[in-house]
Point group: C2
Chain length 185, copies 2
DNA sequence: GCGAGTTGAGACATTCATGTCTCACGTGAG
DNA sequence: CTCACGTGAGACATGAATGTCTCAACTCGC
């Protein structure tokens, strides 16, 4: 009954609550026997690797969909601004599903996921660098730091929603505005 | 030879590298036998609880040292600004030692640590609220969100230094400036 | 030098997650 | 109906981490 994708989705959902959940718990969460779970994923690492891959897929799709490369190449301030808005919205949507991937330590232990993650981060650096060159973002700080700041705000956003301090519908504008304008009045 | 504090310090250092390190590994890292480690800390939870407590101690000390409450009560914009600068520097110093506590999931599973953490967060909310009232920080977003943003930037800072993207000596100014002014030019 | 106290090494039992395997059951296609 | 297939439940072996215990060695104060 439960397809592989449904199992993955359930595991994802549950790992967002408890990142240390055991295979038995994840199987139960998917409404599936432990044996069945192992039929789909030989090992726990397999499962995490698949989830990690999917989260990177989403990240990559977001960059593609926002045409980060093309926008960066254009150097057009307006387009860059729109692209950043778009990207934040996409990231925040993804973090609903893959939030646990933001801080889970498994990802950093899988070399192939790490190198791929580094490549994607590099694409982001390109965009932010272009944004600096176009005068959209300040250029007195490194673009690499700005990518870290983006990441940090995503973690903050996830936490804020989890604790009920921010309504999901306000989140996009809140995070973007905080990133761009900061907290000063 | 190794005092309890030295063991704690070593464990802290090592958990910053590998948050899942076993008791055996932590004992070795402290240059101490596994039995000795257990003499000081009955269980792994004990050890983590102690480290969690210490990280909250540091947080509290930072708030005290910066006189967050007094400054908030004063409502003086200049003092509030100075206090924020001071606080960020203290937090960043602490995150060198207790960085792992930022994202480790153990802390959220210890109820007493959580309630204490909530109380400290509340003190921070008071300060940021006062900052908003004094016109230091924007008041079109909730002060609670601002505390999350502070937290997120600390995570980002830790990550940036770990990956060598930011020099430690630049960090204080960088983080504060990003928090206050954002990334926009 | 001696004795009390502490330590490290290691043996041990226990618990828990993991991964494999078997088997009975149910369902759907033929 | 029946047979093939996927599934769930559960047994099983394994490995890792944990916590306890003992003992020999070492150190420090006397």
């Amino acid at each position: 009954m439960a397809t592989r994708d449904e199992i993955l989705a359930a595991a994802q959902r549950h790992l967002n609550i408890d990142p240390r959940a055991s295979m038995a718990v994840l199987a139960a969460a998917a409404g599936v026997g432990r044996a069945t779970l192992h039929r789909h994923f030989a090992s726990r690492d397999d499962l995490l690797h698949e989830l990690g891959t999917r989260s990177l897929d989403r990240w990559e799709q977001s960059l593609d969909a926002a045409d980060a490369r093309g926008v960066a190449a254009s150097g057009d301030a307006g387009r860059i601004r729109a692209c950043l808005t778009d990207l934040f919205a996409r990231y925040l949507a993804d973090s609903d599903d893959f939030g646990f991937a933001l801080t889970d330590s498994y990802l950093t232990s899988a070399p192939d996921l790490m190198t791929r993650s580094d490549r994607l981060a590099e694409r982001e650096v390109e965009l932010l660098s272009a944004a600096q060159a176009a005068g959209v973002l300040r250029d007195d700080v490194s673009s690499r730091w700005l990518t870290h700041a983006v990441y940090g705000l995503l973690v903050a956003a996830r936490e804020a929603v989890r604790e009920g301090d921010v309504a999901r519908r306000d989140l996009d504008a809140l995070v973007l505005s905080t990133f761009l304008k900061g907290a000063s009045s």
